[in-house]
């Protein structure tokens, strides 16, 4: 068991009072497993992903990683977790605009002290980014940008990759290519993958599929 | 602020006959006022009378140049007292100011001076006679033969005067009534001067000869409060007779007129108010003002019915408190020359 979540609850404040987003989620992720999180807009799937990734905190419930409770970690602890253990890919704005592609790919790995020149070259090659290494993010296409994000997430050799609609901004063909590359590489590294998507097609390519409806697993 | 205008305001008595200035219409403030039946004491009375508010030595002349061109000149010294005291130094309340002018057919030159009486810059001594302000003077061993000098930025003159007749006393033996309410002044003239000398004009010196008329007048309250200006004539006819006449314009449209008929031997006849009739005939545009520069003057009692025409209708005295003063020619029942002064046409 890589990750275990128990009775996760989360509300957001609005002018009309607290709005519950997650209403008690129980979830577990095994090492190397691929899991799709689907659901309508506002069903809480992104929030769940953020909480699993240590980007946000729950109101109640517990999360444990490899048997260790990580629910109570402070800012620093959660930052270390993100840096060392997870690879995170968002739909957009993944990259640091002031750094080159190469620096972006290496960024998290170097933060975590795990950068290896060979590993980075391999990733760039696998994702077809070798030509782009000295460019800046704004000079890349959307598909290329997401490939950089994938490379960066995998460069740290994470135990768990968290992806939030990673191909949501791409056209269908590109999305298909990028997804395929991502799945191959994740499989190569042996990391588990949790991906938020609203596309049933994509969800079907994952090992397991969970559907959220109004903050609860259906 | 314009100091000059204020000086003039305070000195108003002189010119202010026309302006109806409040200062004079009211009180005499400890100053002596003229009384009927005066007894003059010469030469002392040619000098200043500091216990009267206002006084002047006022000379006008009609002259001819070598080419027959006509000229006029004016030399006036005014004395105006802030208080009926003599005083010495800067604090003397006796203030003097002078006006001088030369008129030609097409030019009119004016200059103006101010001074305090206590420091020697201006004053009048009766014997030997000298009236002066700055470099301007009117002086002589006696009142009958005098030298006269004045300068301005564009003109100067130096002339000698020689009296050919006696002093003439206006009104009732020198007591000249100025309104129906009884305002009056002491007033006498020397209208019989022969004049010769030199005018210096922008084009150079001009030798001239002619006649001059000197007025002496002092008072403390010469104007009534309903009088707004005056028209004053001094005319010398070729038959030897002379006429002094004035009318004070009153705010109700009526006039207070008076005058003196002077026989060739100097014998004066005081004119009654209805003896002297002056009527404007034609107006001239003088710097935007309508000024009557042609007059019909009638004295039925002496069969006078003449027209006076200004030598130069633009004889405007552009001094602190401006007025019109210039030479005229006389035609009609009598011919001759003279001077016209008009105030209150501002």
């Amino acid at each position: 068991m890589l990750l275990q979540a128990h009775q996760l609850k989360k509300s957001f404040q609005s002018v009309d009072g607290p709005v519950p987003v997650l209403r008690g989620i129980d979830l577990s992720v095994d090492a190397g497993e691929t899991l799709a999180l689907t659901g309508e807009s506002g069903s809480g799937k992104s929030t769940l992903l953020h909480i699993l990734g240590g980007l946000d905190v729950v109101d109640s419930g517990t999360i444990s990683l490899e048997g260790h409770d990580i629910t109570g970690l402070d800012d620093t602890g959660r930052a270390a977790l993100r840096r060392d253990t997870f690879g995170i890919i968002f739909q957009q704005f993944n990259l640091i605009p002031s750094l080159t592609v190469a620096a972006n790919i290496a960024f998290q790995a170097r933060l975590a002290g795990k950068a290896s020149t060979d590993g980075l070259a391999h990733l760039a090659d696998a994702l077809g980014l070798t030509e782009q290494l000295n460019k800046y993010p704004e000079q890349l296409s959307g598909g290329q940008q997401q490939r950089v994000a994938i490379a960066r997430a995998l460069a740290v050799r994470p135990k768990l990759v968290l992806a939030d609609e990673p191909t949501g901004n791409l056209d269908e063909d590109t999305a298909e290519q990028v997804l395929a590359q991502m799945l191959d590489l994740v499989a190569d590294t042996g990391a588990a993958l949790v991906m938020v998507t609203h596309s049933p097609t994509l969800a079907n390519r994952m090992g397991r599929r969970l559907h959220l409806r109004q903050g609860q697993l259906a | 602020m314009n100091v000059r205008a204020l000086v003039f305001l305070l000195c108003l008595p002189a010119m202010a006959w026309a302006q109806g200035f409040g200062g004079l219409g009211t009180q005499a403030d400890g100053f002596t006022t003229p009384r009927p039946n005066p007894v003059f004491d010469f030469p002392q009375d040619h000098g200043p009378h500091p216990d009267y508010r206002i006084e002047w030595w006022y000379l006008t002349a009609n002259m001819t140049g070598p080419d027959g061109a006509e000229y006029g000149l004016q030399w006036t010294l005014f004395r105006s007292a802030l208080a009926p005291e003599v005083g010495v130094g800067w604090t003397s309340p006796q203030i003097y100011f002078g006006h001088a002018a030369v008129s030609t057919k097409d030019a009119h030159y004016v200059s103006e001076r101010f001074a305090r009486g206590g420091i020697g810059q201006a004053g009048v001594t009766p014997a030997p006679f000298e009236a002066w302000i700055d470099d301007w003077h009117l002086k002589g061993d006696n009142f009958d033969t005098m030298q006269m000098h004045a300068t301005g930025p564009e003109f100067a003159y130096d002339v000698t005067l020689d009296a050919q007749g006696p002093l003439v006393f206006h009104g009732d033996g020198g007591f000249s009534v100025k309104s129906a309410k009884g305002q009056a002044s002491y007033y006498y003239s020397q209208p019989f001067y022969d004049l010769s000398g030199t005018l210096t004009l922008p084009d150079g010196p001009v030798p001239v000869t002619g006649t001059a008329w000197l007025d002496r007048e002092w008072s403390s309250q010469p104007l009534a409060d309903d009088q707004s200006g005056w028209d004053w004539f001094s005319l010398s006819f070729e038959d030897g007779n002379k006429l002094m006449g004035f009318r004070l314009r009153q705010t109700d449209g009526t006039f207070f007129a008076s005058g003196t008929w002077i026989a060739p031997d100097g014998t004066p006849t005081a004119l009654r108010p209805d003896d002297f009739i002056a009527s404007p005939m034609a107006l001239s545009d003088v710097g935007g003002r309508d000024v009557p520069t042609t007059w019909r003057v009638q004295v039925p009692r002496f069969n006078v019915d003449v027209t006076t025409t200004a030598l130069n209708p633009q004889a405007w005295m552009a001094v602190s408190l401006p007025y019109w003063e210039g030479p005229v020619t006389v035609q009609g029942s009598h011919t001759g020359r003279g001077y016209l002064e008009m105030t209150g046409y501002e």
Binding site: F12, S41, S46, H50, L55, D56, D75, T76, A79, A80, R82, R83, D84, I88, F90, Q91, Q92, F93, N94, L95, I96, P97, S98, L99, A103, A106, F107, Q108, R110, L111, A112, R152, D164, E165 | M1, N2, V3, R4, L6, V7, L9, L10, L82, A83, W90, I95, F114, A115, R116, I119, G120, Q121, D134, D135, T151, G152, P153, F155, A156, T200
Partner: protein, 798 residues
């Protein structure tokens, strides 16, 4: 449509109140400093105007006594009787409760310019004035005159420290019966006046323009203030420019939408223009009020400065003049226009279907960068060219302007190079990112940093000038104030007895003999000196003949101060006329710092021959036993203690005058620096909200918010230090221009330049502190940003 459009445009400001505040505050600050300085200048000029109108200086020639101090009233009457149109003036100083008041007596009847100086535009009752002793003075001075026993009328038009009255009253209170100080000559004179020399051979005619024309003398000082005002205005406009640029950039999509919905471009432009004018008027209005407060606060010091440097009397109270309101609002609108023109043109040229680029403001196009560098190079070249070939005060200021703006435009390039170096040397990934990110932020911060550069350079430059001046001045005092004691006789009559008493007590008595006169057509204090080893040992000449003191001592030479030398174009070897046929060669030029007017020194006997009625009342005493001499003077001679001052006392007094003189400069310095600090603060605050998308990925990848906040603070500090480092050489260049070019033109003396590293380090410390204080709040906000806000960056619904 117009109302709807306005509403849409205005909603931007409603949603971005901070931007609105920045814009209005920037305008207000710019306008405040500008109009404050203008107000101070206007007030000072009004004071000179009042004084000049009264004195007839500048308009009329004057007659001054050639040899004595006064003109006999008889000479005045003689001139008038000769036809000369001259007006008398009695001019002297009266001690009222320890304050010197200048009493000016005129004759309203003959003064060529009449009585225009008093009455505040209203007629003065002249009968009243002539009938009753009256003085006119402004409110400050009126109180001091109460004891005079004459009527005092308050008149704001009369210069401070001055009282205008009738000749008679002036002669009376100054005890000058029958005497006049000078005569003012009317411009128009009657025909045929005799030559002046025939009437009054003992008087000298002085041409109008060479009189003590305070306004001309102080022009340089006001130009100085104006330059400061302009600098502050420019700094403020930098803020405004930045804000408007950002706001317009952020509203591109709104403009596009409005146009797509059918509003003509012209209408959009007009609406945006009107909106800016309204904002400019609001900011300008606030600025004028602030400017008034600044001016009111500065004016007393300005008055002190002008008094100290030029001897000009300026009223210490401010009058509210409508012209400031107008000019303040106009400059605000004009400044906004300059700041907005680029943005408005961009909107005008924007294609209807252009995409919104919310990040575009943060990146400068390389074309613009090249243009800036080109302009910068050009301006710096102009500055250097002027430094080599330029002459005169205005060119000096042009050179300053070119130097400052050129350097400011070059700053982004310089900083970029420095940051690139930092980046190349960075080993750790966080620092690599930090340098890269700082470089990317540079365009957004560069305006604020330019403002900081200008403010700091001005600070370095002016403080270097003032401190150099101070060092030179102190050295000069040490050198000049060599006598151990300075004593003043109570009356001229006591002079002889005092000298006789002192003779056996001290080594040397050095009488101080002086008159105010004119040399080479310039107002000059002429001193008669008893040449002694004190002079020979202590005085350092700027340039002199080797036998200078011998020449002076034998009455065959004159030495003059630097001010007189420069203003009159005299140098060693030139001849100077002392009136009449007395002509002496200049044998030496000496530095005379802090003195507003010319000074010249001749030998004592020669002085007495020229000015026979001068009796010395002040003496410098050389003695080895100053304490016992002082005691003897007090106990045995009966001289009041106040009439004896020792060397230390007089030095302290001189220095205190000096210190007051530069308070204004100091105050303006601080204000300019404060505006620059505000610019940095506002820029960082604005950037902070826009930088969330840039920072969110770093945070997501494992940097804590706290760490990000620390990095932001570090970034501000590093930029400030880099800017400060660039500011110091620029400031030193500025100081050189001030000392070697502007000073000579403005004050008449050239100063050696000293460098004050400790002061610059302190200033850098201040700049660092200011930057950190400015960055603190944005950094704290960043450290406390809720994760939700950061996550929104990545959210699909964004």
């Amino acid at each position: 449509m117009t109302a709807a459009g306005f509403h849409a445009l205005w909603s931007h400001w409603r949603r971005n109140p901070l931007q609105l505040f920045t814009l209005v505050a920037g305008l207000a600050l710019a306008t405040a400093l500008w109009s404050g300085v203008q107000a101070v200048n206007a007030e000072a000029r009004a004071s000179y105007g009042a004084a000049a109108a009264t004195l007839g200086e500048g308009q009329f020639d004057q007659l001054l006594p050639a040899q004595s101090d006064t003109i006999a009233q008889a000479d005045y009457i003689a001139l008038r009787r000769a036809g000369w149109q001259v007006g008398p003036v009695v001019d002297g100083r009266l001690d009222a409760d320890g304050t010197q008041i200048r009493i000016l007596g005129i004759d309203p009847l003959t003064a060529p310019n009449g009585f225009d100086a008093v009455g505040e535009g209203q007629p003065v009752d002249l009968v009243d004035f002539l009938s009753k002793p009256t003085v006119f003075a402004n409110a400050d001075t009126a109180d001091l005159l109460k004891g005079l026993g004459v009527r005092v009328i308050e008149d704001a038009g009369v210069a401070s420290g001055m009282a205008i009255t009738d000749v008679s009253v002036a002669q009376d209170v100054l005890s000058l019966p029958g005497q006049l100080s000078r005569l003012v000559i009317a411009n128009q004179q009657p025909l045929g006046v005799p030559p002046l020399a025939d009437v009054v051979p003992n008087l000298t005619r002085v041409a109008a323009q060479s009189g003590t024309d305070v306004a001309r003398l102080t022009d340089s000082f006001h130009l100085n203030l104006t330059a400061f005002g302009l600098l502050s205005f420019a700094v403020g406009i930098f803020i405004v420019h930045g804000t408007i640029g950002l706001a317009f950039e952020q509203r591109r999509s709104m403009v596009r939408t409005l146009r797509a919905l059918g509003m003509p471009l012209r209408r959009v432009m007009v609406l945006m223009g009107v909106e800016l004018i309204v904002l400019a008027l609001i900011g300008g209005g606030v600025g004028v009020v602030m400017g008034y407060l600044i001016a009111a606060a500065l004016l007393p010091d300005v008055a002190a400065t002008l008094k100290g440097l030029y001897g000009a009397d300026v009223s210490g109270t401010l009058q509210l003049r409508p012209s400031w309101w107008i000019s303040g609002l106009l400059i605000s609108v004009a400044g906004t226009g300059v700041a907005a023109i680029g943005s408005l043109m961009q909107v005008a040229r924007m294609p209807l279907l252009a995409s919104a680029r919310p990040q575009a403001w943060l990146t400068a196009s390389s074309a613009r960068r090249i243009l800036h560098v080109a302009i910068s190079g050009l301006l710096l070249a102009v500055a250097v060219a002027l430094g080599v070939w330029g002459k005169g005060l205005v060119l000096g200021f042009v050179m300053l302007g070119a130097l400052l703006i050129g350097a400011a435009l070059a700053l982004p390039l310089i900083l970029d190079v420095a940051l690139r170096l930092g980046q190349a040397r960075a080993r750790h990934v966080i620092w690599e990112w930090f340098w890269a990110d700082t470089r990317q932020q540079l365009p957004g911060l560069s305006l604020a940093l330019m403002a900081l550069l200008l403010a700091m350079a001005a600070n370095v430059g002016v403080s270097t000038m003032v401190s150099s001046f101070r060092l030179t001045f102190v050295g000069f005092l040490d050198q000049r104030l060599a006598s151990e004691l300075y004593v003043t006789a109570q009356t001229p009559a006591q002079s002889e007895a005092l000298q006789a008493f002192l003779k056996p007590q001290v080594r040397v008595i050095l009488p101080v003999l002086s008159v105010q006169t004119d040399l080479a057509g310039l107002p000059t204090d002429l001193y008669g000196a008893r040449i002694d080893s004190t002079h020979r040992d202590n005085w350092a000449f700027l340039e002199a003949r080797s036998d200078a003191w011998d020449s002076v001592d034998t009455g065959r030479g004159i030495i003059i101060n630097e001010q007189l030398a420069r203003r009159a174009g005299l140098w060693v070897g030139d001849d100077v006329s002392l009136g009449g046929s007395r002509i002496l060669p200049v044998v030496g030029i000496y530095g005379d710092y802090g003195n507003p007017i010319g000074q010249a020194i001749v030998q004592e006997d020669l002085f007495n021959a020229l000015h026979p009625n001068q009796i010395p009342t002040r003496f410098g005493l050389r003695t080895d036993t100053p304490d016992s001499v002082r005691k003897a003077l007090i106990d045995d001679f009966g001289l009041p203690e106040a009439n004896i001052i020792d060397q230390a006392g007089i030095k302290a007094f001189s220095l205190s005058i000096f210190e007051r003189t530069f308070t204004v400069t100091g105050a303006l310095n601080v204000l300019t620096l404060a505006v620059a600090g505000f610019a940095i603060f506002m820029s960082l605050l604005t950037l902070a909200s826009m930088r969330v998308p840039q920072l969110a990925p770093a945070w997501a990848l494992g940097l804590t918010r706290r760490k990000l906040g620390q990095l932001e603070l570090t970034r501000a500090a590093i930029l400030a230090v880099l800017t400060a480092t660039a500011a110091i050489p620029l400031g030193l260049a500025l100081a050189w221009v001030l000392l070697a070019v502007v000073n000579v033109e403005a004050f008449g003396w050239k100063l050696p330049m000293y460098v004050f590293p400790a002061a610059y380090a302190k200033l850098c410390g201040f700049a660092l502190l200011a930057a950190i204080v400015a960055a603190l709040w944005p950094a704290l906000r960043l450290a406390r940003t809720p994760p939700t806000d950061l996550l929104k960056v990545f959210a699909n619904e964004r």
